[in-house]
């Protein structure tokens, strides 16, 4: 497909404005371009066709099953979109709350922010929350910055070591390092759990805390999660819960009840907001009471008369971490979802998410290796090591799935499983869809036995074929 720049014709316009009936104003010379901007020149129809065609070539949850492990690609209910597009919200200016008397004109939006914080804190078992972080990893960073501020306030600046399991998302050590901590990796044991002996060996008075994903990235519920948290806290550290896999325990376990001091929630995973093209995201953070004074600013509060205000005067706050109050329209979608599904709905979400993952796991067990003999939570991790004997790798299986009309699962993560295929069906898929997917995976396993070479060329039916990922990484062309 051609780029829109390739379709450009000199002088073609989508809209021709009428001649101006007022004299042109002079702009300062310093603000003028030295040459015209390079923009595509196309008609309105050209532009509509171009983007409609591009959209049709896209693969998303609205078009295909999308079992991308660790990403919870659940269906995004369209009512969320309707609500977030209501003009009373969408046309609100973000500065309004900070203007004199402006606060009276955005009470509804402030109420949404206030109640979402309370709902999240209540759902996850914490004292309070902030909605400001713009993504999951930003939430991690915000939380560990609060850890650092808390330790500093207590005069415990010698605590510099953040413990991180070897199955963790790469964002955990990145966030900890950005907040000034040194990371220490803790190994997993043969069952896929954090190794308690390794943990005990690592604990000392320089440990700031631990970042633990619950359930972990192998899709298992850490058998001793409460003990891990207790050990770290006994040693004077703080415990952080990476909420990437919250969908598995929603409505059943509250991480705050397990003793965690903070956790982030990916609204685009658990709370059905769009993943859309890398953003806009939202990664709210819940905190236990001892971290409350360190929450970012500004903070929405509720007055006795039921009205809402904004405070920016917390002495111990870590300060501003994002413009305004977070990604408001994304938070609004999450709020709608929380109200729609809360209570019993949460339990049905986690139950079906776990059931679907175990169904796929059981059906594929005869065909793909599984490194751990135990039932999983919301996602299952298979290994393509058996297919590897025929020269077929996890990447080839992922590409072959595209030809069969499914988005590929996550591959090569977690790192501790060789040739990993990480499948997370999410609760919104029917048994028929899961069966179709399993049949496709079984077909590919058979093909790996009988005609492995054919899989090396997949995909053949997509708008572009096998991309040269190695070439792109080794010789990137960063400028046109």
């Amino acid at each position: 497909m051609k780029l829109i720049f390739d379709k450009s014709v000199n002088g073609r316009r989508g809209v021709r404005l009428p001649a101006s009936d007022v004299p042109a104003a002079e702009l300062p010379q310093a603000l003028l371009r030295s040459q015209a901007a390079e923009l595509p020149e196309v008609s309105e129809l050209d532009a509509v066709r171009h983007f409609t065609l591009l959209g049709r070539q896209n693969m998303g949850v609205d078009t295909n099953f999308y079992p991308l492990g660790s990403c919870t690609m659940k269906y995004n209910p369209k009512i969320n979109e309707r609500l977030s597009a209501l003009p009373g919200f969408s046309e609100l200016h973000p500065m309004l709350a900070q203007l004199p008397e402006g606060i009276d004109y955005c009470q509804g939006a402030l109420q949404v922010l206030y109640e979402t914080e309370k709902l999240l804190a209540q759902t996850c078992g914490f004292a309070d929350a902030t909605l400001q972080p713009m993504a999951g990893a930003h939430g991690e960073l915000t939380a560990v910055m609060m850890f650092a501020a808390y330790l500093k306030a207590k005069g415990e600046t010698r605590r510099k070591i953040m413990l991180i399991p070897d199955s963790a998302h790469g964002t955990n050590p990145a966030s900890a390092a950005m907040a000034g901590f040194t990371c220490k990796e803790i190994a997993s044991n043969a069952d896929g759990d954090l190794d308690l002996d390794e943990l005990k060996k690592a604990l000392n008075d320089e440990v700031a805390g631990i970042m633990l994903t619950t359930p972990n990235t192998l899709g298992f519920y850490e058998s001793a999660v409460a003990e891990v948290v207790a050990l770290v806290k006994q040693a004077g550290g703080l415990a952080y819960c990476d909420g990437a896999n919250l969908n598995a325990i929603l409505g059943r376990i509250r991480p705050g009840d397990l003793g965690f001091d903070a956790m982030h929630i990916n609204t685009h995973k658990t709370l059905s907001t769009p993943h859309g093209g890398g953003g806009p995201g939202s990664g709210p953070v819940c905190v236990a009471a001892r971290l409350e004074p360190f929450l970012p600013q500004p903070k929405v509060y509720k007055n006795k008369d039921g009205s809402y205000g904004l405070s920016e005067d917390s002495a111990q706050s870590i300060g501003y971490i994002a413009p305004y109050y977070g990604n408001f329209s994304v938070i609004l979608r999450a709020y709608a979802y929380l109200l729609m599904c809360g209570g019993d709905g949460f339990q049905r979400i986690s139950e079906n998410a776990v059931l679907n993952a175990n169904y796929v796991r059981e059906r594929l067990a005869p065909w793909y290796e599984q490194n751990y003999e135990r039932s999983c939570m919301h996602e299952c991790v298979l290994s393509a090591s058996r297919q590897g004997a025929k020269g077929v790798r996890a990447l080839d299986i992922a590409k072959a799935l595209l030809d069969k009309g499914f988005h590929a699962p996550t591959v090569y993560f977690p790192l501790i499983v060789p040739e990993a295929l990480m499948i997370e069906p999410a609760e919104t898929e029917s048994k028929q869809t899961l069966d179709d997917f399993c049949e496709a995976m079984i077909d590919i396993a058979k093909q790996a036995e009988e005609n492995p070479e054919a899989l090396k060329n997949a995909p053949l039916s997509t708008p572009v074929g096998r991309l040269d990922e190695v070439g792109a990484a080794r010789n990137p062309i960063l400028r046109a």
């Binding site: 591959v411 790192l415 990922e469 990484a473």
Partner: protein
């Protein structure tokens, strides 16, 4: 005689200079290597310390120094052609050389036979 670390680096000592790289097994597991973050010349490391990192299309991994010493050379050829690590991990794909080495560190490393048994597990 090469010695091997559990973290999949090899080291070969000749005339007081240690040459270090990653094992063929590690290179195969990583897949096509795209970038190697090298130590600086004259940097000093203890055995077990991180001295660089290696990236492939699949993952990024830390490199652990199998022997204490001071960096005396790095394999500059890998800068433009990191794929040499895949072609020849334990020869042309060497990563760096160290001087002033602590030869006693070699004792806690594995022989080739022991290492191959270790990765088979």
């Amino acid at each position: 005689m090469k010695r091997y670390a559990k973290t999949h680096e090899w080291v070969q000592v000749q005339d007081g200079i240690a040459t270090v790289g990653i094992t063929k097994f590690a290179a195969d597991e990583l897949g096509d290597v795209t970038y190697i973050e090298m130590p600086d010349l004259d940097d000093e490391f203890e055995a077990g310390e991180i001295f660089g990192s290696i990236e492939s299309v699949k993952a990024a991994s830390d490199l652990f120094c199998p022997i204490g010493g001071k960096i005396s050379a790095i394999n500059e050829e890998l800068e433009d052609k990191p794929g040499i690590v895949n072609e020849s991990a334990e020869d042309r794909g060497w990563i760096c050389k160290l001087e002033n080495i602590k030869e006693a560190d070699l004792k806690s490393l594995m022989s080739q036979e022991e290492y191959l048994a270790f990765v088979r597990e």
